[in-house]
Symmetry: C3
Subunit: 211 residues, 3 copies
């Protein structure tokens, strides 16, 4: 239950991550001329969609149904995009940082929640990845685009790698709170390197398609 | 449990609403040249998709899995669109009325079901909105269009407003069966005014999009 | 529990079916230039998506969360498409056979699991159809195409017909293991005849669309 003990640091990280996720959804919705309500919904889906799917697969009610903070935060994200998007654009690097912090944190939270529910380690890695990356997939489905994460710089794979790091260090008995930091940083690092050097996975092509 | 006591009136309302929802799905599928089976599935998804998502989030099995009426009704909707669509077109205003009645009823049903399951009031408003509006979103995703409700006249917001009316009047101690009628009518009214006067929410644009 | 007794034959059938489903997803992802990770995810979704939805509707955690075989198999499918797609293309008829075997088996498995969970026979037929056909729908939504099964040769209807055969023979007291074979073959037969003779359902058209 290390997550609950250092609640302030994690709260800040989760707040920043949720905010950055919601902003990304609202901006993409703006590019499609969504109305205010639609854009807010897309922001919310981007921020909480992955964790929602995870909780439903684990047989729990989605986490945001008992805590209004995510609803409020998505609204704050909506208001800032609406009013100060030009200011936000100047701080796109901060948003990228928040987004990546969110990705790392969501991965570890999803992974630990799945382990605590008694599922095997490889399911936990999948659920961690889901928590971090599925919201963006739902966002792209709703704005009627092919999901970005299946075509651009390494994203979900950063969650998979960080998840494996956590499981491995856990297997060797590392203390959980230290493990959370190390595996979280490994998500951050993989994602940062991928974007900084435009590293994408190889793509399949015509010769692998149906004929 | 007022909903169960005046079962005949509500049954008629729900029947009309489900029918109108299914018709809207089948017609949009027809515009995409779906086959009979596909159109029927889209009609069914439009009619029960929102309530299905709500039930799964509440940790229950979807309501239609124990009552075949929705399956049968979607089939009736399919048959009438197939055979008498020209007659239906002449009564588009009746269909709009049924659709709006359905929207109002589904919202209140979803809201009360969520309160009874012990969730907070704001979750109940979200679930009411989900029950009324999410079926149309699933329909649009399946026919590969950007969801209509994120771009056209006020729709889901009518559910949000009606939901807030219900919670507020409930807070002030109004008797539930009267509250159901008043808040249902407020959904109807908002939706009717929005369509009659082509009231849409403002849209986000390029200046809010990612650059 | 006949399914558990003759585990070897059914294991082979399920393995072949899962493989064929995953291959179909990975090939379609290749046609859209997905990267390796994206293509693998699409393969996995195609193979397990239907059963996942079924389990969540039945109130259970998805079957693949406790057995890594489906994860591994989708990876094998990915590797063979990546490396030997030209060889696979020469054996497209085998893949069609595997896909159809999978369709038949998934239908019967989904149907029996739903009956065992205490739901009515018509829900079981829907869930059987879901198990067989919904993975392909999720695949098509993720690659941003209108779902194939709503427009092409009879597919999901084969599951519906096979499901009805099972329920009918079960009603007349036929021994379950024999019933599984007969109703499975009826799925195979309907699907084979549909593809061999290009039998599609009639389509809805403009005159059924909204005006």
């Amino acid at each position: 239950m290390n997550l609950l003990m250092n609640i302030t640091v994690l709260d800040v990280l989760e707040f920043l991550g949720t905010y950055a996720f919601a902003v990304s959804g609202i901006r993409l919705a703006a590019g499609k001329n969504f109305d205010y309500f639609g854009a807010y919904v897309i922001g919310m889906v981007t921020a909480v969609g992955g964790g929602t799917m995870r909780d439903m697969m684990l047989g729990m009610s989605p986490f945001w149904m008992t805590n209004p903070i995510y609803l409020v935060e998505s609204f704050v994200a909506f208001l800032t995009v609406l009013s100060f998007n030009k200011v936000l654009v100047k701080h796109n690097e901060s948003l990228f940082l928040f987004d990546t912090l969110g990705l790392a944190l969501f991965t570890i939270v999803g992974l630990e929640k799945t382990l605590q529910a008694g599922f095997p380690w490889w399911t936990a890695i999948i659920m961690g990845t889901f928590t971090g990356a599925a919201g963006g997939v739902f966002r792209d489905v709703l704005i009627n685009e092919v999901p970005l994460i299946f075509r651009k710089e390494i994203y979900a794979l950063a969650c998979v790698i960080g998840g494996n790091v956590f499981i491995l260090l856990n297997f060797f008995g590392l203390e959980t709170s230290i493990n959370e930091i190390i595996s979280g940083i490994s998500v951050l690092l993989v994602r940062y390197l991928a974007v900084a050097h435009h590293i994408s996975l190889p793509k399949l092509g015509k010769e692998q398609a149906e004929e």
